[in-house]
């Protein structure tokens, strides 16, 4: 039996920026939830859900020994600090945007 929960319940995250590229690292608190990240926090899903913001390519790097992954989001900062008029022009809060996603837990 599976049940749904927000990602924040099983994982923590931090966002950083370089130019118009954002990176969000996501780590499972409990190693048993690492496969949930791998299966459900995919570039395809992020593009589908947040495509209006994450307008470029999304690359995902897996770090199994840290039970985490690094999401590298191109053209995901509305132009970045040079151009964005978003109050959060660094996209520091993108970590919690992603932690708000729902996941199915085993």
């Amino acid at each position: 039996m599976t049940h749904r929960a927000t990602l924040r319940k099983i994982a923590h995250a931090r966002a950083g920026d370089k130019g118009n590229r954002s990176n969000v690292s996501v780590f499972a608190y409990d190693p048993k939830h690492y496969p949930v990240l791998v299966d459900q926090i995919t570039p395809e899903r992020l593009q589908q859900t947040f495509g209006a913001l994450f307008t470029g390519q999304i690359q995902r790097y897996l770090l199994p020994q840290l039970h985490g992954l690094n999401l590298v989001l191109d053209e995901a900062l509305e132009g970045g600090v040079n151009e964005s008029l978003n109050l959060d022009s660094h996209g520091k809060s993108w970590s919690f945007l992603i932690l708000g996603l729902e996941v199915d837990l085993p």
Partner: protein, 446 residues
């Protein structure tokens, strides 16, 4: 081979970072070195503008405050101080430090200044800017200056000359930490494995409290004790390049595998290819293990040959950003705030002929995550924010005027108007062959 470890602390993780945790580290940390990392891309560009208006300025504004507080402690504890607080004017910063050391009665101190990062003269009309993907001559904005990211060489040379304080301009952040490690352990510059290890340590340390529980608390999920008094980090580094990250007893915050993992990937893209002037570092094999309360060991970094080209940040004057806000609260707040936004857009276009539409945010309903499609629907406490970027300051002033005029002419119950105009600085990158950049060392005795 040396057996003892090297203790290095972080005294600042950005230009405006706190002072008291740095003083605590300098006093009680028993440190071999303390690093103050204070130089963002925009901070440097602002420094270049300040230096242009006054040749004695352009370095970190907190330099004097920080030095007065920690120099005597560093002297007493035989702790070397390394900082990029020189920003756009490292020589002026170095002279200020010498003056302070004299005033505080610290004779015999040696202050070294590393320059050579100014790359303005190396750029030409056809220099390629990476992100706008165009030649310098085709970019419409006025250049402020260009600085290359130096590696460890200049700092290591300063330490060889027994400098107690090393002031730099633009140096890659992790290099500020790798340099004293290379010097102390006598790692060769082309020992890529050690350079990768020291770079990982520097990367984890460079944002100070971000590895000791700062930027981490999420009440109910990630609780952090005594966060108001978060301590700054210490790395106890071994000759083989492994380290334990810790903090002083009695300080707030926490060092655990979660804080270290978050910082390990902070602003990293491909973890297997982290490029610095010193090495192509590989963090993809990193191990992060708890070894006790507030003690985490980091190991497993690897390294390959350093890149042949150095990154150069080019800064441009980018016009102005105008921002103006007004609040609506209580029943119907969201509809009144939306209406206010419609009024602003309409009047800017029709009355003032402003071509670019302003960005409109309803803070409390939809703002920072607005573009991602996130909306809260039942907020009764809403702040309209209007923002625009413009090359003409008058247009930004018009925006502020229009939002302020909502006080009498806009929807009911608007209050709390605020408006700001700030100059905008643009920064882009280019690459320069490393053979064209050399660090320059000046040494001053107190």
């Amino acid at each position: 081979m040396k057996a003892e470890s090297f203790r290095i602390g972080t005294g600042a993780g950005f230009s405006a970072d706190r002072l008291d945790p740095a003083v605590d580290l300098a006093r009680r940390g028993d440190l071999d070195a303390i690093v103050f990392e204070c130089l963002g891309e925009r901070t440097l560009a602002s420094g270049l503008l300040e230096k242009r208006s006054d040749p004695a300025l352009g370095y970190n504004r907190l330099l004097e405050t920080r030095m007065r507080a920690v120099l005597p402690l560093c002297r007493a504890g035989n702790t070397c101080l390394i900082t990029n607080m020189g920003a756009a004017n490292p020589l002026a910063a170095g002279k200020a430090v010498v003056d302070i050391a004299r005033e505080l009665g610290l004779p015999g101190m040696r202050v070294a200044v590393v320059t050579g990062d100014d790359a303005t003269h190396l750029l030409g009309k056809d220099t390629h800017l990476i992100e706008p993907n165009c030649a310098l001559q085709d970019f419409e904005h006025r250049m402020i200056g260009a600085n290359a990211y130096l590696g460890t060489e200049g700092i290591v040379a300063a330490l060889k000359q027994k400098a107690n304080v090393v002031i730099t301009g633009r140096v890659a952040d992790p290099s500020l930490f790798l340099a004293p490690l290379q010097h102390f352990f006598q790692w060769e510059y082309d020992d890529w494995a050690r350079a990768g290890a020291g770079t990982m340590i520097g990367h984890v340390m460079e944002c100070a409290a971000q590895v000791t529980g700062g930027y981490f608390a999420d009440p109910g999920y990630k609780n952090v004790e005594d966060i108001a008094f978060v301590g700054f980090p210490i790395a106890e580094v071994q000759h083989n390049g492994t380290a334990v990250i810790t903090k002083l007893p009695g300080t707030g915050g926490c060092v655990d595998p979660r804080t270290v993992k978050e910082q390990l990937l902070y602003e990293i893209h491909d973890p297997a290819q982290y490029l610095t002037p010193d090495v192509t570092a590989d963090f993809s094999w990193a191990r992060v293990d708890s070894t006790g309360k507030d003690r985490v060991s980091i190991s497993g970094a690897r390294g390959r040959e350093r890149p042949q080209e150095l990154k150069v940040t080019v800064a441009f004057a980018g016009g102005f950003v105008g921002e103006a806000e007004i609040s609506y609260a209580g029943p119907g707040a969201q509809r009144r705030a939306s209406l206010a936004g419609e009024i602003i857009a309409e009047r800017l276009r029709q009355v003032h002929g402003v071509q670019t539409a302003p960005r409109l945010d309803l803070i409390g309903v939809s703002s920072v995550h607005g573009t991602a499609g996130q909306t809260m629907t039942d907020s009764e406490d809403v702040r309209l924010r209007c923002a625009m970027r413009t090359s003409a300051r008058e247009e930004a002033e018009t925006l502020l005027w229009e939002v302020e005029s909502l006080l009498c002419c806009g929807p009911a119950g608007g209050g709390g108007y605020r408006g700001y105009i700030r100059p905008s600085i643009l920064t882009y990158s280019t690459l320069v062959d490393r053979s064209r950049i050399s660090p320059i060392l000046d040494v001053f005795d107190v």
